[in-house]
Amino acid sequence: MSTKLTEDMLKAMPDSRGHFGAYGGRFVSETLMGTMLELEQQYLKLKADPDFQAQFDYDLAHYVGRPSPLYFAERLSRETGGAQIWLKREDLNHTGAHKVNNTIGQALLASFLGKKRIIAETGAGQHGVATATVCARLGLECHIYMGADDIKRQTLNVYRMKLLGATVHSVESGSRTLKDAMNEAMRDWVTNVDDTFYIIGTVAGPHPYPMLVRDFQAVIGREARAQSLEQAGKLPDALVACVGGGSNAIGLFHPFLTDESVAMYGVEAGGHGIDTGEHAAPLAAGRPGVLHGNRTYLMSDESGQISATHSVSAGLDYPGVGPEHSWLKDLGRVHYVSVTDDEALAGFRTLTSVEGIMPALESAHAVAYGVKLAAGMDAEQMVVVNVSGRGDKDIHTIAQLDGIEI
């Protein structure tokens, strides 16, 4: 069952305290409340400031290289034998993923607020690299928190961050992945709240982060919508994006939410399979709870402890999801689905061999589902798959699975 969304409904989300329906909000310790309130105020002011927006647009065009192409994957479509598959090429952005759209925006915000020290968490390392990159450009001190297990599986990105001048802190607590990196970043933040800006890498965290990260990433959907109309002469029939915290997905979906004819699919990490419990799919198999500053669907046990997650892709290996996705799930506006590690790996190989595009393992989840979806649709229909990042960082993982030492 789906509720029709109107422009007015969307404008009211989040409400003045950061709620998307029953989700979102601001669940942080008191030490951070003043900062959160100030950040919200400043952001709302800057959002309406033409100079700020002009600077953001300029940087996206000349530093990131936007607009990113909307590419018709003709051969993949033919081989799939269903709807036309189009790829939104966020992998072609500077630094190789959509993450940089957000770090450009937040670094600009940090500069306006006069904060000189930047912290960030990272899973796959893409957000860490994108943060270290903007810090190098603006001459800001940069500290990246990364789970010890992720440091092992994303060595290339760790080295990139170091080359860019960031200090990478290995997080040894908990499950040693993205959620623990976020815990540690929060601990740094309460300790250094006066001079530090926390660049959160996805549409999670306390209000106003889910809102402002969405606003910065919505450039993906605005472009894709205009490009669809221009290149295909119509709106797409379906959109597909992977969902870790959900920033590339909300970025693509948001500008289309009131277009009733456009179906949307958020693809979570099915890991070894939803029924094994070893996955990272809170929308498919979680329950509402509170973690990292917001109320949202979470993977937790019956006594409220956050569950261990599994995904072959470090960027999706997170037990929560942005609160706006929880709202969209309950509304029925977006379908949340999952693909397993194996399906994603197959998606990686397909796109690589058929189109010469190596997607990040995160994005490979969207590719795998997009192909499955397109196969069951008509030839005149159109599916847009968000290729949120490129796969260079994952070559190591793929080689290892192939038993090859590189």
Partner: protein, 271 residues
């Protein structure tokens, strides 16, 4: 009058300060917690704060993180900690017990089910670290209806406007977090804390407890001088950790830590 209010009022009338220990429930093992609580009372403590272990303790430093992990490894759950309070109450009906928790374990149990069970067990107050009053509308009224105090945090970064607002949502006492940081981190600047606490006392009629950074009799006395109570956490949890394999020595170790604090507080000149 709640048990917390009763104890704090009586102490005030005697010109005394509250000694408030924090321990992680279930650390090092759930079977030891009630005994440890009695030891704390014997050592002169007035109110006990029981930390509910959580998988993602974002506001805590390494000492309490590790305590949480030990407690969880041995199967500590919120429901089991509520049972501990019930057991404690069988032989102690005077010492208030406060839960210090992250929201998710409580939300997962269900706010109403939690409030019922906690009140039934004889709990006195609830402090939820990641729940500012703005978001507490679903919880606080349920607690209040069962005479459970809602305790909220104040921080060095809290504005006067917020101090007033938070106080109106609080009962029992307010908890002033004396430093910017996680539990167990840097040492405190006593003068700064004193200034801020005096300022808070001008804005609220509630007793003010001060926590974070109190590690010995000296810091306890310095902070006790200006506040209504001192909350001792990481150093206590660390003492429990260091004695986890020798439970027979734990009691003496806790007493060795807390008794000097009690004496130092009692030796403070009357205001």
């Amino acid at each position: 009058m709640s048990r917390i209010e009763g104890v704090l009022t009586a102490l005030k009338q005697q010109g005394k300060k509250a000694l408030i220990p924090f321990i992680t429930a279930g650390d090092p093992h759930p079977d030891q917690t009630v005994d440890i609580m009695h030891t704390l009372v014997d050592a002169g403590c007035d109110i006990i704060e029981l930390g509910i272990p959580f998988s993602d303790p974002m506001a805590d430093g390494p000492v309490i993180q590790l305590a949480s992990e030990r407690a969880l490894e041995h199967g500590t759950t919120l429901k089991r900690v509520i049972e501990m309070v019930k057991t404690f109450r069988e032989s102690n009906s005077t010492t208030p017990v406060v839960f210090m928790s992250y929201l998710n374990p409580i939300e997962t149990m269900g706010f109403e089910a939690f409030a019922d069970a906690a009140a039934d067990a004889g709990l006195d107050g609830v402090l939820i670290v990641d729940l500012p009053p703005e978001e507490a509308g679903d919880v606080s009224p349920l607690l209040a209806a069962r005479q459970l105090d809602s305790i909220f945090l104040l921080a060095p970064t809290t504005s006067d406007e917020r101090i007033r607002a938070i106080s109106t949502h609080s009962s029992g006492y307010v908890y002033y977090v004396s430093i910017k940081g996680v539990t167990g981190s840097a040492s405190i600047n006593v003068d700064e804390v004193a200034d801020k606490v005096r300022h808070i006392q001008e804005l609220t009629a509630l007793p003010v407890g001060v926590g974070f950074g109190i590690r010995d009799a000296k810091t306890a006395a310095a902070v006790g001088q200006v506040s209504d109570g001192v909350i001792v956490g990481s150093v206590l949890v660390d003492t429990i950790a260091r004695n986890q394999t020798q439970p027979d020595q734990l009691k003496a170790a806790l007493q060795g830590l807390l008794s000097p604090m009690r004496e130092a507080l009692d030796a403070l000149p009357a205001e």
